[in-house]
């Protein structure tokens, strides 16, 4: 069946001999690059929205677990199970509930970020040196002040590390969002109907796959850069 699809695919294509021979075709890429912008934007949209919502939820859960330690286990268990269910399966299992489209994609992607973010935020909060918190309390900072002025700033490196992991993971998983009827670069990689030649066309795979990798790498570097700026005290060493 796949072979049949491949043949149809070849007939559909237009262009130079390079394309007919399924080569890597710079001129085809130059001519067709416009077909990738919308999926790229969709991909960015899926990633940013999912990561943002995931962070809000994970952050709230982490603060809750920070005050009520016993909640850490159950929350890790539930988010861990969500994380374990393969994304493709999750997209499909959500379909009857949330329908085809971005909503399903976002719900599933958010579910994936929760474990990573929750774990890193709680680890970050837990790793704040006990003497620093003790001193803060001893000087008369209230619990809220300790959280805002001491614990969160000191947990920030760990939190941002979690955001980086969640970001690259989400970019990767969002390529599968087309299973839920969501957009994104995955549709370009896979589908005939995207008009870019599908899975077997080398030029398409390189461009669409490459854009996904670049998006992950760019987002990662962006957060890394922000982290450097936000944490001057991490760069100093003892004299």
């Amino acid at each position: 069946m796949i072979e049949v699809l491949a043949q149809i695919q070849f007939e559909k294509r237009t262009g130079a001999g390079c394309v007919a021979e399924n080569g890597f075709c710079p001129s085809w890429i130059a001519n067709n690059i416009n077909k990738y912008w919308t999926p790229l934007l969709e991909h960015i949209y899926l990633t940013v929205v999912s990561l943002g919502l995931g962070f809000l939820i994970a952050f709230s859960l982490a603060l809750l677990a920070h005050r009520r330690r016993w909640l850490t286990g159950p929350i890790t268990g539930v988010t861990g199970a969500l994380y374990t269910v393969p994304s493709v399966a999750a997209f499909l299992l959500l379909l009857p509930i949330t329908g085809r489209g971005n909503l399903t994609a976002i719900v599933a992607l958010v579910a994936y970020t929760l474990l990573i973010l929750f774990r890193n935020i709680t680890t970050g909060l837990r790793n704040v040196p006990a003497d620093v918190v003790d001193a803060a309390r001893g000087m008369g900072l209230t619990d809220g002040q300790i959280l805002r002025q001491v614990e969160l700033p000191l947990a920030l490196p760990e939190i941002l590390a979690g955001v980086r992991i969640a970001l690259t993971t989400t970019v990767g998983l969002a390529t599968l969002a087309f299973f839920a009827g969501g957009g994104g670069l995955g549709k370009q990689i896979y589908s005939e109907s995207a008009g870019t030649g599908g899975l077997f066309f080398k030029s398409n795979v390189v461009v669409a796959g490459g854009l996904a990798v670049l998006l992950a790498a760019f987002g990662d570097l962006l957060i890394l850069g922000g982290q450097r700026l936000a944490l001057p005290w991490r760069r100093v060493t003892a004299t």
Partner: protein, 400 residues
């Protein structure tokens, strides 16, 4: 100090007990003691004796189960914990400095909480950095990770003093420092205390530190019981029980010698002699003195040689003869050191000189042993023991 300095507050533990649910014994058991305003009270004892728990109840980091603690006559139970804590300085062994704040911001923590204006905070920060013998322009904008261990400890102490607290709580503040620098920091703090006169609760497990730092020492023993509360001298002379005696150590007599200076005790009188003096006169002077020897002095009155029977022949005293006048002890030496000099010179006595090196008397084993029996109330307090001229060497604690 700026005009804001509130008077140091007195502190009283009134039948204070701390019980943890499920624990067999209370962590602190019916503790009562009073600390006068401006005094250093050291809580000392083996680990698990409840000393830190007792201290942490003062600023309500730990809740009191029974009894009460009064700060300046007012119960801490009536205070909102965060407000109470802002009035009480807090310095701990691991420093607890905020690694993400600069030294200046660290020191400014409590003033900011109290809503001081910016100029006042900046002024106060610089004042405190100077107070702990560091250069404000050099360290103000550094992060704690850029400082040595000793500097961090000092910043921790400066931070605890920032809002002029009425009481200072210090939990092994010099515990993580090597012995040489610990001594420097102790001296520095005592000098600071001589200026500030804060009421201090100082927790340590080191009896030598307790003796050195404390105006009064509370020895505690597990589980949470007060074994003795007394001045260092009193405790060394009359340990209240076997536990205190053992905790203080077999060398408590020696420790006590560290509380006294040569200046504070009655020395032996000795006959003086100068080149050209008549021998017969010198012999007469010897009879009026405590020693069978005379000391040959130079023109400035500095000790040169001992003169004994063999040297005191002929008409007049001559130069360049007799046993050397060693070891020379100074008035500011503590008795323990002076005893050490005598022992290592294998002699029973040695000349004592003043700041200018002039002979003032003789210190002997007998004099020292007499000092051991001096009543506790005649032994001076620790704060007076710190040499004023001790300089902090640059980079002195880089090894930390």
């Amino acid at each position: 100090m700026p005009e804001t300095t509130p008077d140091a507050a007195s502190l009283e533990f009134r039948d204070v007990t701390k019980r943890y649910p499920g624990a067999e014994h209370p962590a602190v058991d019916d503790l009562s003691l009073e600390v006068a305003a401006g005094e250093i009270c050291v809580l000392v004892g083996p680990s698990g004796c409840g000393k830190t728990t007792a201290m942490r109840m003062v600023n309500r980091l730990i809740d009191i189960t029974e009894g009460d603690i009064l700060v300046g006559e007012q119960s801490v139970r009536d205070r909102k914990p965060s407000e109470l804590r802002r009035e009480i300085g807090y310095a701990i062994q691991q420093t607890g400095l905020f690694p993400h704040h600069t030294v200046g911001d660290n020191i400014a923590t409590v003033p900011k909480l109290l809503g001081w204006d910016k100029d006042r905070i900046r002024e106060r920060v610089d004042e405190l950095i100077e107070l702990i013998s560091l250069d404000p322009d050099e360290v103000r904008d550094r992060f704690p990770a850029q400082l040595s261990g000793g500097q961090r400890q000092r910043i921790g102490v400066a931070r605890s003093l920032a809002a002029d607290p009425r009481i200072l709580l210090m939990d092994e503040p010099f515990g993580a420092i090597d012995p040489i620098n610990r001594e420097r920091l102790q001296n520095e703090f005592l000098r600071l205390q001589a200026k500030l006169s804060k009421t201090v609760v100082f927790v340590t497990h080191d009896i030598d530190e307790a003796i050195k730092m404390g105006d009064r020492i509370a020895v505690m023993r597990a589980p949470g019981k007060l074994a003795q509360y007394a001045t260092p001298a009193e405790m060394l002379l009359n340990p209240a029980n076997e536990f205190v005696e053992q905790f203080v150590g077999a060398d408590r007599a020696l420790k006590r010698l560290a509380l006294q200076r040569v200046r504070d005790i009655d020395l032996w009188k000795v006959a003086h002699a100068r080149v050209g003096d008549r021998v017969r006169e010198v012999r007469t002077r010897i009879e009026d003195s405590d020693l069978e020897l005379a000391m040959l002095l130079d023109d400035e009155g500095r000790p040169q040689h001992w003169l004994d029977e063999r040297e005191l022949q002929g008409e007049t005293v001559e130069a360049d003869s007799g046993p050397e006048a060693t070891p020379v002890v100074e008035l500011d030496d503590v008795l323990r050191d002076a005893l050490g000099y005598l022992l290592s010179a294998e002699t029973q006595f040695g000349p004592v000189v003043d700041d200018a090196g002039r002979m003032v008397g003789v210190l002997s084993m007998e004099v020292i042993s007499h000092a051991l029996h001096m009543p506790a109330d005649q032994v001076r307090s620790s704060t007076d023991l710190i040499p004023e001229d001790e300089e902090l060497l640059p980079g002195e604690d880089e090894a930390a």
